[in-house]
């Protein structure tokens, strides 16, 4: 329980500055404050689950969209361009609303809030992933393809064992950025009622009328989450770099 303690320190520091603060709403020392804090933190589960599910799907989709973009075939390349330009042009919030309210009308399928959020976030992110993968794959020296060719590797094997492992090491920082971006964008799914961090904060604000304190806690929640993710990505980069560079 280190976090509430830090928050408490932070709170007492700020409470002296202005009469506007009312930290009691999230004061872990008081029973209601503690309940409120737990309520806010309980959104963490869906924020993380939503973001990780969406980014897993968008990485795979992005790769599948990137590959035709590298083809010699003009039509495959235009498929890549059209997909990227189209998807990139739609604001994420609009995509979320469209998938949640629009798509069921089109397909007569009801879609859960969670999956609507995942689909919208993944779709939107996949266009960026496609560009990242394309650049990463293009940065690999042509000699690697030629060497793979000369030891008889098929195209899928060349990609899987030679090109992608090197490309992924190079794009790891960009993938890390996308995950951070995804964690932040997942807050938009609160508008369709996903019980993630932002939604929880909104609900608490409505009952407690303390937006300043509640949203400050929300900011700190995202900050902590993203610092942890950044550290994890940097650790992964270092680990992978130990066996790179020619």
């Amino acid at each position: 329980m280190k976090r509430p303690l830090i928050l408490l320190g932070f709170a007492s520091l700020l409470s002296g500055c202005s009469a506007q603060w009312g930290w009691y709403v999230v004061n872990p020392a008081s029973p209601t404050g503690m309940t409120n804090l737990q309520f806010l933190l309980s959104g963490l589960y869906y924020t993380v689950l939503l973001s990780l599910t969406a980014i897993s799907i968008s990485v795979v989709t992005g790769l599948l969209v990137a590959l035709p973009g590298l083809s010699d075939n003009r039509y495959l390349r235009s498929f890549n361009r059209v997909y990227v330009e189209l998807v990139r042009a739609v604001p994420i919030l609009v995509l979320i609303l469209w998938v949640y309210y629009g798509l069921p009308q089109l397909t007569s399928l009801t879609i859960s809030v969670f999956w609507a959020g995942v689909i919208a976030l993944a779709l939107s992110d996949s266009a960026f992933q496609a560009e990242i993968f394309r650049a990463g794959i293009q940065s690999i020296n042509k000699g690697q393809y030629e060497a793979a060719h000369s030891v008889s590797l098929s195209y899928p094997d060349t990609m899987r064992f030679v090109i992608l492992p090197q490309a992924i090491r190079r794009i790891l920082p960009a993938l890390g950025n996308q995950l951070v971006y995804m964690l932040k964008m997942s807050s938009l799914v609160s508008v369709i009622g996903m019980q993630e961090l932002t939604r929880k904060a909104n609900e608490l604000v409505v009952t407690e009328y303390r937006p300043l304190e509640v949203y400050t806690v929300l900011v700190l929640e995202y900050l902590a989450l993203i610092l942890i993710v950044s550290a994890a990505v940097r650790w992964l980069e270092r680990r992978m770099q130990t066996d790179e560079r020619n």
């Binding site: 060497a147 060719h149 030891v151 008889s152 590797l153 094997d157 064992f161 492992p165 090197q166 020619n246």
Partner: protein, 250 residues
């Protein structure tokens, strides 16, 4: 040493290759018999790399025909696979897979493309690493090796596919002078074992010692083709004489 058979193992006839409107190979014909050691030389941009890259289809020729051990090179998948299985290639820049260990570099082809078992592939790899005299480097990554060692790994990687023909594209040009000999030594041993080889190189000492056919190219054409004794003592064309003059006197 294997005696040369009557049927050439590589048969190029009237091969032309264009890059856009630029003609890199002009109506080139070349026969290579099994066990032949051909050394190709010529000024920069003369089409040496293009010539040998057409043989394993890293480049597609536009006209003429290339037949390698009975297989006519074409766009068909079967011919492509057959050619790649028969022909190994060593590059100027080594082109090792930097994210894989030496051993993994050697076993990837056999395991994925020839369905060799992992242990069997590793044994094969160790055999060839011993042949290029660096078995102790098996677990290292390419960047941890010297240039000469890297190129020997690249040769071993090619040999692991057990090709019938080996192509070398300036294998020592990217090396520091003190490392050139260790690579040439390995290549000379390979030649002595009867491997059919085409080497693009300007190492004329090596050529004299190993080649049984010299090819001189200029402007996309084979200008001169003769046994090394004749090639070095009495080259016929002026262009070849000039080239040899330049390269031997420095």
């Amino acid at each position: 040493m294997i005696s040369t058979s009557a049927q050439p193992v590589i048969r190029m006839e009237g091969v032309s290759k264009f890059f856009g409107s630029f003609q890199a190979l002009k109506d080139v014909s070349l026969n290579v018999n099994s066990g032949d050691r051909v050394v190709v030389c010529g000024p920069s941009g003369s089409g040496k790399s293009t010539l040998i890259r057409c043989i394993n289809r890293l480049e597609k020729h536009e006209s003429g025909s290339i037949i390698v051990d009975g297989v006519t090179l074409s766009d068909s998948r079967e011919s492509l696979n057959a050619i790649r299985a028969k022909v190994g290639m060593v590059f100027q820049q080594f082109n090792l897979f930097p994210h894989l260990t030496v051993l993994e570099n050697l076993t990837l082809g056999p395991v994925r493309a020839r369905n060799t078992g992992k242990t069997e592939a590793a044994e094969l790899a160790m055999r060839y690493l011993e042949r290029v005299r660096i078995p102790e480097q098996a677990e290292k990554y390419p960047r941890q090796l010297s240039g000469g060692q890297q190129q020997r790994v690249a040769i071993a990687r090619s040999l692991c596919m057990e090709p019938q023909i080996m192509l070398f594209d300036e294998p020592t040009s990217a090396l520091d002078p003190e490392m050139i000999n260790e690579v040439l030594e390995v290549m000379a041993e390979l030649a002595a074992s009867g491997m059919t080889m085409i080497c693009v190189t300007h190492e004329m000492g090596f050529a004299r010692r190993v080649a049984d056919k010299m090819v001189f190219m200029d402007h996309g054409e084979i200008v001169e083709m003769s046994p090394p004794e004749k090639f070095f003592s009495t080259p016929e064309s002026q262009r070849c004489q000039d080239f040899l003059q330049k390269i031997l006197h420095h």
